[in-house]
């Protein structure tokens, strides 16, 4: 676990350390290896994405939960089953539960649905037989069981009730069968009535899922068929990487990592994109015409700096503007220029303007997402290019390794850039947005430079490229330091 933890704390300054020695072959921006010998800088202060967490197996989680259950059940002298009900309904906060219990135990037990809100009346009479209200069958009294509410039902009906609920995916929320009775069936009571082993297994699997979901420090890895649970004592919208399947996700909401945008905004944005997919479809074409000679050009790499194969004109894929203008301080391709008089325009014009604004951000968001996918393809091409070079005696694989490192960094930078668009879309116009868009434009420009250089690297001389990598990553961290607010 220690090694995993360390790998997360990537240190901005470790990049510098590596640039002039031979640790390059294991030099990876996402998983900077062993940083023991690097100067002791607190990464939680320097790295805006620093996040401490650990990956746990099912057994480890079970142990963790059981420890908590044991503490509470010893503390309050209650059964582990009841302790679980209380912990589940109180986000596993042992001290809060213990305090509430000492203050007013009845209130706690009633509000947690362990005890009924009204004092139950025990069954009167001394008959040896009772009629079960569910199956309407008279049976001897020994066959009847109840929860703390004393609502009696026969053993077979309890079993049926639990099986039906479990088959619908319900476990910790199974309650009594009486009308208007909210008392929950604790684990030991349910298990006592389940005999079929597949039902017991399912029940235990569902309760486990419920417990993890109600635990503020735990998250299931969202990766397909992955059983790993991530634990962090600081449940924030930070980047978590599953040690098993390598899925990268936001710890808070479980969706794809989305810095600098926050969980609420990214959800809003993704819903909007899904709703407006029709409108946006027409722009997702892979081909555009060269703005100079009008020949049809297909985008086959991630880089937005395009060069027409026909007339050699350099232009920007996004805005079709001259690329030379993009290199300057006034790079404004990423910025949307709002109409300052929009409030005075007609509803119709406003609606068109709103669509135009959305499409501006959507187009860039979509474009970087596509570029990321195309860059995976570029990497394949890179491999075969290096292979050719090595075969013809131009350096060794190790000499060319830096290109892969550069491609990795490029992907990471582009990923952040992609998620700056929803952020900007929902930002209010003002100096903060201006600063954001300035930094976004700077990052964008450096990313395109890097992308251009990687696609065309012809020598094993890596000085220039490493310089470019350094600049791009600095721009990325600067933007996150200023705007990642979690």
């Amino acid at each position: 676990m220690e090694a995993t933890l360390k790998s997360l704390s990537q240190d901005a300054d470790s990049d510098m350390e590596c640039s002039d020695n031979d640790c390059l072959d294991e030099y990876d921006y996402y998983n900077t290896a062993d940083d023991n010998d690097i100067e002791q800088i607190d990464p939680s202060k320097t790295d805006p994405e620093y996040f401490e967490y650990e990956c746990l197996t099912e057994e480890q989680v079970e142990r963790l939960l059981n420890e908590t259950v044991e503490i509470l059940s010893n503390n309050l002298q209650i059964t582990p089953s009841l302790a679980k009900v209380l912990l589940h309904s109180h986000g596993w906060a042992v001290t809060i539960i213990a305090t509430k219990y000492r203050g007013n135990p009845d209130h706690l037990l009633i509000s947690s649905k362990v005890k009924p809100s009204t004092t139950p009346l025990p069954v009167s009479g001394c008959s040896r037989y009772l009629t079960c209200p569910v199956c309407v069958t008279p049976q001897i009294i020994e066959k009847f069981f109840s929860l703390s509410c004393l609502h009696l039902f026969c053993k077979d009906c309890w079993t049926m009730h639990f099986e039906v609920q479990i088959s619908q995916g319900i476990s910790t929320a199974i309650s009594c069968m009486a009308r208007d009775c909210e008392v929950l069936a604790p684990e030991d009571f349910v298990l006592k009535h389940l005999s079929r082993s597949n039902m017991r297994e399912k029940y235990q699997q569902y309760t486990f899922q419920d417990y993890v979901k109600s635990h503020p420090e735990l998250r299931f890895c969202p990766g397909p068929n992955c059983q790993v649970v991530i634990r962090s004592r600081e449940p924030k919208a930070k980047r978590s990487i599953c040690c098993q399947c390598k899925t990268i996700f936001c710890f808070k909401c479980g969706m794809d990592y989305h810095a600098p945008t926050d969980c609420h905004i990214i959800k809003k944005w993704l819903t909007k994109c899904a709703d407006d997919s029709e409108t946006a479809n027409y722009i997702s074409a892979h081909t555009k015409d060269c703005p100079n000679c009008h020949i049809c050009i297909e985008k086959n790499g991630g880089c937005n700096h395009m060069q027409c194969y026909n007339c050699k004109y350099d232009f920007c894929w996004m805005c079709l503007g001259d690329w030379k203008a993009h290199g300057s301080e006034y790079y404004e391709c990423s910025r949307y220029k709002e109409n300052p008089n929009i409030a005075h325009e007609s509803v119709h014009v406003q609606a068109r303007e709103a669509l135009k604004k959305y499409l501006h951000y959507y187009e860039r968001w979509e474009n970087h997402s596509k570029s990321l996918k195309l860059e995976a393809h570029t990497l394949e091409k890179l491999k075969s290019r290096i292979n050719q070079k090595v075969m013809s005696g131009l350096g060794t694989w190790i000499d060319w390794q830096y290109l892969f490192t550069a491609a990795g960094l490029l992907a990471k930078c582009r990923y952040t850039l992609q998620y700056t668009y929803p952020y900007a879309y929902y930002m209010e116009v003002g100096p903060r947005k201006e600063l954001f868009e300035y930094q976004q434009a700077q990052l964008e420009a450096e990313i395109e430079n890097l992308s251009w250089k990687i696609e065309r690297a012809e020598t094993t001389d890596r000085g220039d490229l490493e310089n470019q990598m350094d600049i791009a990553e600095k721009r990325r961290t600067t933007l996150l330091k200023d705007f990642l607010d979690v």
């Binding site: 569910v134 039906v164 208007d180």
Partner: protein, 199 residues
């Protein structure tokens, strides 16, 4: 059909027939087939509501897993109510969903539905159009619900104005029920209803 389900339904059927509500003609159940999987329910519109004087027929389907799962109930009689779909008769009521308890019975269900007719829950709507009218135009809702009760459930209050408007649309070739739905949805505004029907 599972043994418990049939056993329960037989018992409940007797329970309803013997109940005091049946004596007062407020609720009723009939068997639709011999194996107790489907029943026909009937409830009287409660007094002092737009449903008063109407008789509402319900379709009741009993699942295999009854009574551990609730019966599936919907209105056969068309009704104008925020928690009941004016199109399908589907009902939004907690005890027919997650608040069901195995110890509840058909009688509980019928009485709860009757109570729902007396007290709608517009914040948990099944029919958004009706719920909106209920909240924003209480009088219009009342008139519309009375009219539907009159037409579909045999209620006593005839609304001449509404009947005339529907007649006009029918003369234009519109189906009578469709005309009623359009007019009801647009607060009986002829122009907007026509626009919607012919667009």
């Amino acid at each position: 059909m599972a043994n418990i389900a049939a056993q329960r339904i037989k018992r409940e059927f007797k329970e309803v027939i013997k109940s005091e509500e049946v004596a007062k003609c407020a609720i009723k159940v009939e068997l639709v087939n011999d194996n107790y999987t489907e029943l026909k329910g009937e409830i009287a519109g409660p007094p002092d509501t737009p449903y008063e004087g109407g008789n509402f027929i319900l379709e009741i389907k009993v699942p295999e897993t009854y009574p551990f799962n609730p019966p599936k109930v919907r209105f056969i009689t068309k009704i104008w109510h925020p928690n009941i779909s004016s199109v399908t008769g589907a009902i939004c009521l907690d005890i027919l969903k997650d608040q069901w308890a195995a110890a509840m019975t058909l009688r509980t269900v019928l009485l709860s539905l009757q109570a729902l007719l007396s007290a709608a829950e517009p914040d948990d709507p099944q029919d958004a159009v009706v719920a909106k009218q209920f909240k924003e135009n209480a009088e219009m809702f009342h008139l519309t619900a009375c009219h539907w009760t009159n037409i579909y459930a045999g209620g006593p209050s005839v609304n001449k104005d509404f009947d005339d408007k529907i007649k006009k649309l029918v003369e234009m070739g519109v189906d009578e029920h469709e005309a009623r739905v359009a007019l009801s949805s647009y607060n009986w505004d002829m122009e907007r209803a026509t626009e919607q029907l012919f667009s």
